[in-house]
Symmetry: C2
Subunit: 704 residues, 2 copies
């Protein structure tokens, strides 16, 4: 049984701070519990001032209760909250739901109170929900542990679980009930002194009545906990649809002041969510569009869709948006096309999009029959049905027909109600659970995400995600690692990362001898743990074709470095064989995300990364299939794949290098803060890869 | 007076094909005209079968009418239409509105009828509207020359004019009236045998009651006519908001089968619209969001906006979307911040976004006063007000306050009604004309377009757009121009396009002598009008450092070309001085768009164009300020602007080259089908540009 089972399905509830003062939090909470809920367990009212409330007796404190409740709802003022929680802990109450505000969000004093709350939770086993939150709306269980006067208005049960931190946007999602969205429950974590959004997701992954989980990521207190919860949802086959608030600089600033959590990098966040199969959306309304589609039906094997429409203009517009969003349109099998051609008049379009023209209005049964033909084509994953206008009774008839066809269709039919006029036709869809999308763009986005999620599920090679336990988000204290390029490369090479053959030379003669042994042309680079940007101090010479060139470069580098970095201690000069011609340069980096831990970044060198942000990221560890996908993710992968007449690059060796880097980070654990391999040379197929430069930032000592 | 004035504001109307048969087009048309319109002019019913209809006498034909009507509405069957039009023409009727379908859209026979209709229009002066269209809805004039039973439901007058070709999407826009959008008129052109969308835009540009024009571009019959109409709207200060249907391959296919017009290239279309100040949107609902905002108020000088919100989460989400859309947030002036800080409690956020917290709910007057402070900050162009949830009476009070503040605010306040629950608060906004947007993403997109349009208006250097009259969209017949690179370059050079110093050599010795004269290193290239891809036949040698190298290259090129292009006639080899080091390569192309004519494309060479489609386009002719903007439009402009430690490139010389190319095309007129300068070398600032390769495709003879 999920550890939060008794929180969301308690047998008994105490309301501490119960009141009948109109509009008080205490009274509103009681109202929801006693009047608007259908709770059959025991309710205990705790009040220090009144002996009776709502015709029920009260008790002066939690200690005095005749039995220990599963949940204590705490609605006393902030100043009195700690004492109540201590009593709850002493009494063995399982969960305290603290709705009161005036804690962390109100300043340093409140933050101190929160620290003490965390302390109580840690030592007693009492789990604390909140503070500063609207509480729990268990819609399917019809139980409102909330002060919100909205509770009685938002009671359309359904398959969607909602986990949010803040209240405003969570309530916004609940109000999608007005367009027919059914919700199982909404849990909002407020200041998260103990229970977090991640815990609610974990619960929802287990809950039988929840098929899809919707969440807002406003800030993440514990990245690992969130990763575990999301992985569980994935294993249980429950899609999670997420909106991250605070993705832009402006939004992050606003979110930080609002939730007092770390928001982390939006790019890393998106990469991690995608890895875990979480469907990320861009706007709050898109959460509902996407979640409802997933709740209606999970995507199957087909990867393309059909458009079926009675307005030529709407069909073309929908096809446009589908093209822009790169959603594939099914090429109907011949049987489908033949069936449509035999039923429709000649001026209808029987390709895809299907433009029925007004023929379906005059010929009885034609609509049902042809729409079903389309939906039964095995290449169709879903049929989009744009409804351009509300045309009164005509629209009603079509809606009724769609509901009939949906009952026989193997795939979902998604109506797009494009008009601002919502008449009876709209209601027919809603009543049948076929909630229309409200704009072509938003609908197609939802469909794309639905298809993408299907692809992820079929792949499903990360369901057992295990983040490295030893790799925290915060750098550990310890002596800063102080490595020159040669040391960094040697360390990486011991773990299978391909680096050029190289020798650290202490004298000019050693350098010339090494170059002769390695074979020309060679590169000469200053080796100093004090110099990160070697080129800037004149510390690099390339294309050295013979012994003389090496000797000359030796002197030049020494002179230049002595002048431009006089304080640096030199460990010698690194002599390396130059990489062959015809390669492509890529960059591979690892950094430590404050929320999720070590993240690998891959991109093609230079301009593509800078101007076009054309990189791909993954939370480590990396699996081989994931590395294979990772390298193909940047648009500039075309350069590795033989674009512009180049030879195909050695992608297999590149994948090996990425896996070696991932293993290296795993083996070193907390030592590594950052790795920068830039450039990595990727040769033509069969000729390997080489990390031409390597920087490792870390702490402690160089590991084995 | 606009030539279409009497079409939209007739003094008398004849209905040819009048009927009282229920649901017939004739009856529905009469119903709209006699019952639902408030038309005070004369109405004549023409019927071959009934002497009286709707209690009015009828006439058997147009010839028999007692007076000549301004407009004849033609609702007879397709087969009878031509005769009616002949009669109208003979009688001197000004406009025939043909609602009947069964013409071009129905096949070759219908197309033949349309050709005859065009013929009648051309020789008689009768202007024909349609066929196959719903007709005219003059909402402000309360005149429905339409068979649509929707006419009486869509009668909210307003400042927006709608011009569409098809009916379905046009009606969709009309139904935005249900969210408070007022429309002056809707005109739909159907098969456009004569009058086109462009003509309606031209009329609306002149109409006093229209402030903003909304149009759908489903296909363009006459690009020049559209350009003229859009330019007129710009001169009259009326924004045009457009959605092009058929932008993707899939959509273009669907649109072509639907409208039988040329859709042209979506990229060219967008570039031309942007040049003309047209606001292009991506979805049909965005037309209305954007148009209404423009109708409420045109943007002023400020370029940044404010967000004012009572929900921290909604504020952060809005800020996110604002950041993603690159809409600038105002930095409040100190007076604003001080005023807000003095009025709000300390836990509110008084930066931008302003997060009022719930303080505004408890403290009377605080909302009005602080929202007005924000709107009066001179750096604020517009204030966005996200409303996350419908909270009943609280939301009503806020809506009432917004309406009050708007009356005093110098800038528009745009509420975003984020919830699916639309209660009384929503209606208050609508009644006050402050129509809320319905999603954060769509709202911010509308705001961005509104700001962009303000910037275009302030610039307003293309209000007197004059497309070249001599440059049609269709290549003229004539002998195909057959030029080698040297000839193309010479021709361009005579018009001020910078090309490398070069000599066409006929013998090896001539080549060596030329190279010596030009100065090494040189390039040697085969000169043949038969060879377009010189590199592929081994026809190019670069970096030739001395006379020997030139001689060797001469033999190698001749041998290779003889083998790989044996049929080609050689005009010699072109010897050119090589461009200096340190330059950036760009491409400049001109092609002839089938709709709009000659379009110039500019981008940075190679990979940026191919992988990232990072190019910018302009309809010619080019002005200097526009050329200045054009070169800065691709993201890879950074490479010309000193990114990655490069020297700044000679952008001034590049702009001169673009203008020279534009002038060249103008001077040559119909001769030129295509120009391809790829690459053009752009040297460091002060060192000029050079078109290193040049291909001209055209017809006729080489001009001066």
């Amino acid at each position: 049984m999920n550890p939060l089972h008794d929180l969301f399905n308690p047998r008994s509830i105490a309301v501490v701070g119960a009141s009948d003062r109109p509009h008080s939090i205490g009274a509103r909470t009681l109202d929801n519990l006693l009047v608007h809920s259908q709770f059959e367990g025991d309710i205990y009212l705790v009040s220090t001032s009144k002996a009776e409330l709502y015709g029920r007796r009260t008790w002066p404190s939690v200690q005095d209760l005749p039995a220990t409740p599963d949940v204590a709802m705490v609605v006393v003022p902030a100043s009195a909250t700690l004492e109540v929680l201590e009593q709850c802990a002493a009494r063995g109450v399982k969960f305290a739901v603290v709705l009161t505000s005036g804690f962390g969000e109100a300043g340093p004093e409140g933050q101190a109170l929160e620290a003490r709350m965390r302390d109580i939770a840690a030592r007693s086993g009492l789990r604390i929900y909140g503070p500063n939150c609207p509480g729990v709306c268990n819609v399917n269980g019809r139980l409102g542990m909330t002060f919100s006067p909205s509770f009685p208005h938002d009671l359309r049960p359904g398959p969607i679980g909602i986990a949010t931190q803040g209240g405003g946007l969570g309530r916004n999602i609940m109000q999608a009930m007005d367009r027919g969205i059914g919700v199982a429950m909404w849990s909002s974590s407020g200041n998260e002194v103990d229970l977090q959004v991640a815990d609610f997701i974990d619960y929802m992954a287990d809950a039988d009545d929840i098929r899809v989980i919707v969440t807002l990521i406003e800030g993440i207190k514990d990245g690992a906990r969130l990763v575990r919860a999301l992985s569980k949802a994935a294993r249980k086959g429950k899609p999670v649809v997420a909106l991250k608030v605070g993705r832009s600089e402006e939004g992050a600033r606003a979110a930080a002041s609002h939730t007092a959590s770390i928001t982390g990098s939006a790019q890393v966040n998106s990469a991690v969510l995608a890895q875990l199969g979480v469907i990320e959306v861009d706007d709050i309304d898109e959460l509902v569009d996407t979640a409802w589609l997933l709740a209606r039906q999970l995507p199957g094997d087909a990867e393309a869709i059909a458009v079926y429409c009675s307005s030529g203009g709407a069909a073309a517009l929908t096809a446009d948006v589908i093209g822009q969003q790169r959603v594939p349109l099914t090429t109907f099998r011949p049987e489908t096309t033949a069936a449509l051609a035999s039923k429709f008049p000649s001026y209808a379009a029987v390709g895809n999009p299907v433009d029925t023209t007004t023929a379906v209005l005059s010929q009885k049964g034609l609509f049902d029959s042809t729409l079903l033909d389309v939906c039964r084509d095995p290449g169709v994953a879903l049929t989009v049905l744009p409804v351009a206008i509300d045309y009164g009774s005509v629209t009603v008839e079509i809606a009724e027909a769609v509901v009939r066809v949906q009952a026989q269709s193997p795939v979902p039919i998604l109506p797009i109600w494009m008009s601002d006029r919502c008449g009876e036709g709209f209601d027919i869809y809603v009543r049948a659970g076929i909630v229309p999308a409200r704009s072509v763009g938003k609908a197609v986005k939802a469909v794309r995400r639905w298809l993408d999620h299907g692809r992820w599920r079929r792949r499903a090679d990360r369901l057992d995600w295990q983040p490295w336990p030893q790799l925290g988000q915060v750098p550990q204290p310890g002596r800063v690692l102080h490595l020159n390029e040669h040391q960094a490369k040697q360390w990486l090479a011991r773990h299978g990362v391909a680096v050029p053959q190289g020798v650290l030379a202490s004298t000019r003669d050693e350098a010339v001898a090494a170059a002769t042994r390695l074979g020309f042309p060679v590169v000469l680079k200053v080796a100093s743990a004090d110099i990160v940007h070697k080129t800037e101090v004149g510390g690099v010479a390339v294309h050295l074709a013979d012994a003389d060139a090496v000797a000359v470069a030796w002197d030049r580098i020494h002179a230049s470095v002595r002048e431009r970095a006089p304080q640096a201690t030199l460990q010698g000069l690194l002599v390396e064989r130059m990489a062959g011609a015809g390669g492509v340069e890529v960059l591979v980096g690892v950094s430590r995300d404050p929320v999720f831990g070590p993240v690998l970044t891959f991109g093609l060198g230079g301009i593509h990364v800078e101007l076009f942000q054309d990189v791909a990221r993954r939370l480590l560890p990396l699996t081989r299939p994931e590395a294979e996908r990772l390298v193909r993710e940047p648009r500039s992968f075309a350069l590795l794949d033989g674009a512009r007449g180049r030879p195909k690059a050695d992608v297999a060796a590149l994948v090996d290098l990425l896996l070696a880097v991932s293993d290296f980070v795993g083996a070193q654990g907390d030592r590594i803060d950052e790795i920068d391999l830039n450039p990595v040379w990727v040769g033509p197929a069969g000729s390997g890869v080489l990390a031409l430069d390597a920087v490792i930032v870390g702490r402690g000592s160089v590991g084995s």
